[in-house]
């Protein structure tokens, strides 16, 4: 049987690797080139799910991606192909990939490529479309497809040229630094990316203008100006890199994936390989756009809980008092959430700090033993999707991750290390 000291050492190693990971944005790549996807295969957020169990927003996003790829001409055709298995879908996490909300990635989509040179790891995430009626929230009408095409044909090529210039000059854009700065500027880097996106624009604007036409550069900068969430996906890819660095450490009880597909929430644990521990996804609570209410909300969905897994997002709520106007609750509660998360994490982050808490490091490295011991589960900031396919985002809020996956993971851990 593994000893307490051995587990402590393993967890120290895992969290050190997580904190010391240096994710750099180094490229923009097409999904089919980077991920070696099988033919007619889509990726989606969260643990594996069957079509018949998939929630409305996930179905909507899969339908939309099928139309975008030209595999189906409309909703009916796409639904048929998906339900018959002619178009297949797999979890993003199985490909070192992450996507917010439905997280659907199709072969023609461009991805942020983030590389951690220290640990020789790479992770990817798709481009963010903005808020409201967007594919990741399950919308798939003409406007959604048109925006995806624009991202593919204009936005991604400009970013690709831009990042390649940045790589030439300074080996890439250090995303950890970006997050670290933004946490001291009022972002928690899951549901608030205002400072991050502003910093990002400052970093890339000159290069974007230098490498692309005036018209394209202007369009891209305009899009970034209007989309506060433009860097969410980049932050998630960086978080995935950090979590990957902590994954696969023998005897470690640190969580390296937390994700949801709108039906189930699931986790991975560092020492337990790519085995999912899942439970029914809870419904987030929060603030809703006009015309929508709690009753319209779909259960929790998205890979974006990778941010909490890596020690920011909901765990850094105390850094982002203004977020309460977006996800609900009070500033006092935001601070309490961060404080509570210290109870279930192994350490405090060396680089992500919270000014309000006297620059205390964010809670880092969820330890399944502590979740089990305290009964406290991770709190996640999240967007809220309508439960019906095709509608899109209806609000934002917070959600408590279910307890059961942690319990099941610990039982498996005991079996493995008896």
């Amino acid at each position: 049987m593994v000893s307490r000291e051995e587990v402590e050492q393993a967890n120290k190693k895992a969290t050190e690797r997580m904190m010391e990971s240096e994710p750099m944005w180094v490229d923009v790549v097409r999904a089919d080139e980077a991920l070696r996807l099988k033919e007619k295969t889509l990726l989606h957020a969260g643990p594996p799910v069957r079509w018949e169990d998939a929630s409305g927003p996930l179905r909507g996003a899969l339908i939309g991606a099928s139309i975008y790829e030209g595999w189906a001409k409309d909703e009916v055709e796409a639904t048929k192909a998906l339900s018959r298995g002619e178009i297949t879908f797999e979890p993003t996490h199985h490909h070192a990939c992450v996507g917010p909300m439905a997280g659907v990635i199709s072969p023609s989509m461009y991805l942020f490529a983030v590389r951690d040179r220290k640990n020789t790891l790479e992770a990817f995430s798709n481009m963010n479309e903005g808020i409201g009626k967007v594919l990741r929230y399950g919308a798939f009408d003409k406007d959604v497809i048109t925006r995806l095409k624009w991202l593919e044909e204009v936005f991604a090529p400009v970013l690709k040229s831009t990042v390649r210039r940045i790589v030439k000059e300074k080996k890439g854009l250090n995303v950890k630094q970006l997050i670290s700065k933004a946490l001291t500027m009022g972002d928690e880097c899951h549901n608030r990316y205002i400072a991050t996106t502003s910093l990002f624009v400052r970093e890339i604007a000159r290069y974007a203008v230098e490498v692309s036409g005036k018209k394209e550069a202007s369009q891209v900068l305009r899009f970034l100006e209007e989309n506060n969430f433009a860097t969410l996906n980049l932050g998630m890819a960086a978080a995935k890199c950090m979590a990957l660095a902590a994954h696969g450490i023998e005897m470690s009880t640190i969580v390296t994936v937390m994700s949801r597909n709108g039906t189930e929430s699931g986790i991975w644990v560092s020492s337990l390989g790519e085995r999912w521990f899942t439970f029914k996804a809870p419904v987030p609570r929060g603030l809703f756009f006009p015309g929508y209410s709690q009753e319209d909300a779909n259960p929790d969905i998205g890979d974006s809980a990778i941010t909490e897994t890596a020690g920011f997002g909901g765990f850094a709520m105390a850094a982002a008092p203004a977020i309460t106007s977006w996800v609900g609750g009070s500033v006092e509660q935001a601070i309490e959430i961060t404080k509570k998360m210290y109870e279930i994490t192994f350490t405090e982050h060396r680089y992500f700090q919270i000014p309000y808490l006297e620059f205390r490091g964010t809670p880092c490295g969820i330890d399944i033993r502590k979740v089990l011991k305290t009964g406290v589960t991770p709190i996640i900031n999240t967007g809220i999707a309508h439960k019906k396919a095709g509608v899109g985002q209806i609000g934002a809020g917070t959600v408590e991750f279910p307890f059961e996956p942690f319990k099941d993971a610990f039982k498996t851990y005991l079996e493995n290390y008896r």
């Binding site: 049987m1 593994v2 000893s3 307490r4 587990v7 009880t253 509660q333 309490e336 404080k339 509570k340 109870e343 033993r369 089990l372 011991k373 305290t374 009964g375 406290v376 307890f403 319990k407 610990f410 039982k411 005991l414 008896r418």
Partner: protein, 269 residues
């Protein structure tokens, strides 16, 4: 007393964060509402306070420190709202075939993995080892008495251990037709009313569901059920459930080494 409803508890609970057991225990189990100075202070695991429900069910007045009215118990200036939870049926061990050897080691390792604080863990484990080795009943009784009131927490760690030990020891004694061991009222004065109450009901074998599961599975030698019970108990208090489990394990070790009636074959699965 100020009226309150469960909806108020969450916000008041969040404000409360000054000390271990009082903090963070309103999570999964059925809840118990505690009021203090006319205000709701905290909610906690109902099973942790299961002995209190006996007070309610049996109209038991506890050492003059507890007052019963229709709705509340009072322990000093802490009020406990009436709950509907009742204790399990008296414990019945089907066979005395205690978990032994590697099985006990595995359970102890699991407890160590979950234990919140390194320093306390050392105290708890070393005390439990000593208890297990005490030969005569007299020595054992004195050893147990020396632990009463020791340690931190609403129910001090020592009380939790003594409770766990006596639950197992007395359940086995009942099965084997031996004399039960009980801590005297005088010795119980060393601790607070919560600790006293817990030891009293544990030695009387009036246990809640989770404790019952642990004691029975330990004495019947079922490793997986024992582990399951430890995991369930681990959420209790700051380290209360784990201390209880350590005490229970210690009693098991004691019985295995000191009694002759117990089958000694190893059972690891």
């Amino acid at each position: 007393m100020t009226a309150f409803e469960p909806k108020h508890v969450g916000s008041l609970f969040r404000r409360r964060s000054n000390y271990g057991v009082w903090k963070g225990k309103a999570v999964r189990d059925d809840t118990l509402y505690i009021e203090r100075r006319g205000k709701v202070m905290v909610i906690t695991s109902i099973e942790f306070y299961a002995p209190f429900s006996v007070c309610l069910d049996k109209s038991f007045s506890f050492e003059g420190d507890a007052m019963i009215d229709e709705e509340h118990l009072r322990f000093g200036n802490v009020f406990v709202k009436k709950s509907t939870v009742t204790l399990e049926e008296p414990i019945k061990v089907k066979e005395l075939y205690p978990l032994s050897g590697k099985g006990l080691d595995k359970v102890e390792s699991t407890i160590k993995l979950l234990y919140p604080e390194e320093e306390e863990l050392e105290f708890v484990i070393s005390s439990s080892r000593k208890l297990a080795e005490l030969g005569s009943t007299r020595e054992l009784y004195e050893g147990l008495c020396s632990l009463v009131g020791r340690g931190r927490g609403l129910t001090p760690s020592g009380d939790d251990m003594v409770s766990g030990f006596l639950s197992v020891y007395n359940a086995a004694s009942t099965y084997a037709g031996r004399r039960k061991l009980c801590i005297s009222s005088k010795a119980l004065e060393k601790t607070n009313s919560f600790g006293r109450s817990m030891i009293y009901y544990s030695q009387s074998l009036q246990l809640d569901k989770k404790a019952l599961k642990l004691v029975t599975s330990l004495l019947e030698g079922d490793l997986s059920l024992t582990l399951e019970a430890v995991l369930e108990l681990s959420k209790r208090g700051h380290s209360s459930g784990l201390d209880y489990s350590v005490g229970a394990l210690s009693a098991c070790r004691h019985i295995l080494s000191m009694w002759e009636v117990v089958k000694r074959e190893e059972r690891t699965e």
